[in-house]
């Protein structure tokens, strides 16, 4: 498939939008907030972190690529755990009215709890920062998977279920040949939203536990008064979040196109 780029809509306008934000940033840094580093100063103080993304001078002074890698590994662990727990719960909620009656209130109750609230509890349970961070990410990121999977199962076309009923398929075959494939598009929408949440939670988790990663780096540089590195971290978090969403969007589109 040929990729066709329309100059105005896909290049000029987005660049113009970014230029506007950059200009506003520069204006704010020269007028109301003198402590806020200007775009130029941010670039000068951050260039080594970007141009040599994998250097390592010490535990807390590393290239942004290396820091992002630590964060991504942590997010991956939490995300995989969220899917491993959330997907079966979602299927049970969708399939069994009794399970739904028992656990849906709990799900609705736990869903809005902030990662900041879970993290200290994770530290109490695991006594170590790394598993506590993964636990927090998993616990916060699993809800979209749970809810979308349950909705996906409940909205399966009755026609498909009737095929299974007429053929008197066994429970296992009903699940593997009809229920799982039919709800897969919803499930993957849940996965995409869960990944977005996991990435949101990582910053808070690393800030509070002081583990090395983009979020940990951000908090450390705030405490060391190197404000330009806060901006570097923020931009990195945004860029990676954007890429992750696009990536999951592609996976989701493939699943939908059966």
């Amino acid at each position: 498939m040929g990729v066709k780029i329309r100059l105005t809509s896909q290049v000029i306008l987005p660049v113009a939008g970014a230029a506007c934000v950059l200009l506003a940033w520069a204006l704010v840094s020269t007028t109301v907030a003198p402590d806020l580093p200007s775009p130029l100063k941010t670039w000068q103080e951050s260039r080594r972190y970007i141009l040599e993304p994998f250097f390592k001078d010490g535990e807390m002074n590393q290239g942004i690529g290396r820091l992002a890698f630590y964060s991504l590994v942590r997010v991956a662990k939490g995300f995989v755990l969220a899917l491993a727990i959330g997907t079966p719960i979602g299927f049970l909620l969708g399939l069994s009215p009794r399970f739904h009656q028992s656990f849906d209130p709990i799900v609705q109750f736990m869903r809005p709890i902030s990662p900041l609230a879970w993290l200290p509890l994770g530290l109490v349970i695991f006594q170590k920062s790394e598993p506590a961070a993964v636990f927090t990410i998993a616990l916060c990121a699993m809800w979209p998977t749970v809810i979308n999977t349950a909705v996906g199962v409940r909205s399966i076309n009755q026609e498909y279920l009737n095929v299974g009923r007429v053929l008197k398929l066994s429970r296992v075959k009903m699940l593997t040949r009809i229920i799982v494939p039919a709800s897969l598009p919803y499930v993957f929408t849940g996965y995409r939203l869960s990944l977005g949440l996991a990435w949101l939670v990582i910053v808070a988790a690393e800030m509070l536990t002081g583990t090395p990663g983009v979020g940990g780096f951000l908090w450390q540089e705030y405490n060391s008064l190197v404000y330009s590195h806060i901006i570097l971290s923020v931009l990195t978090i945004g860029a990676i979040g954007f890429l992750l969403d696009r990536l999951m969007g592609l996976v989701e589109a493939r699943v939908r196109a059966h």
Partner: protein, 259 residues
């Protein structure tokens, strides 16, 4: 007792706006190997009747017996072919048919089941498209898959609910001819639901007109005295065709103006 016996079947749907009596006491009897068509206006409750005989819906009153056994739930001995195909879009043509073959022949060795699957796909002339997904197929090809799946259940009774009405006229004629040929070879017991009078006469031994709902019932049976094998060409010139057509159209017209 007949092979399929339907006695005083009643069904109503209850909606927030009230109760609609769809079927008001349907009686029907089929012998083994008979091809019966039920013809009626759309919305008269034909699909409800198919769902009841298929066991997908429970009747409010009345009884259905197939080969002596009461019908209480769906099962492969009553294969269903629906207007909207209801193929599983994530499975290939082959896997859609194989699902049925595997379900009704659990004791057979895998190689034998594969051979059966290929046989049913070949029966509806889809061997070249066996690995395609339903969305890659035309409407006519999809309906062929649904017919193959229905036959692959080796049903005692094949229920077809307006199987060709979503197709264009040329494709419909082709599929009717194919069905005629397949039925001629296998002599399955078939109930065909349709709103196409000519389709019913071409295919069926006997036709029941259905009165428009609510409280739909079946009118008196109309025998189609055309000899088999039948040919679409010249059929309309035969007196038996004209007689059946006239009886059917007259009953349907009278049942509508009589309301």
């Amino acid at each position: 007792m007949a092979y399929l016996e339907v006695r005083d079947l009643r069904k109503a749907y209850v909606t927030p706006r009230g109760r609609t009596a769809v079927l008001g006491g349907v009686d029907l009897a089929l012998d083994e190997g008979e091809f019966v068509a039920i013809v009626g206006y759309s919305g008269s409750g034909k699909t409800t009747l198919v769902s009841l005989i298929g066991g997908l819906l429970a009747p409010d009153a009345g009884e259905i017996r197939l080969d002596g056994a009461p019908v209480t739930e769906p099962g492969p001995e009553r294969g269903i072919v629906l207007q909207q195909y209801s193929l599983l879009p994530w499975l290939s043509v082959r896997d859609n048919v194989a699902l049925a073959v595997d379900a009704v022949n659990p004791g057979l060795p895998a190689a034998e089941r594969r051979r059966l699957t290929d046989e049913f796909i070949a029966l509806v002339n889809l061997t070249p498209a066996a690995w395609k997904r339903p969305r890659e197929l035309s409407g006519g090809m999809r309906q062929r898959v649904a017919v193959a799946r229905g036959l692959a259940m080796r049903p005692k009774l094949l229920l077809m609910d307006e199987p060709f009405s979503a197709l264009d006229a040329l494709t419909r004629a082709t599929l009717q001819d194919e069905l005629l040929k397949i039925w001629g070879e296998r002599r399955s017991t078939v109930i065909l639901i349709t709103n196409d009078v000519d389709e019913a006469i071409l295919l069926a031994d006997r036709i029941y007109p259905m009165t428009p709902g609510p409280d739909a019932v079946l009118g008196p049976a109309i025998e189609v005295a055309l000899s088999r094998p039948r040919q679409r060409r010249h059929m309309s010139l035969e007196p038996a065709y004209q007689k059946a057509r006239q009886a059917l159209v007259e009953f349907l017209r009278a049942s509508r103006t009589g309301r």
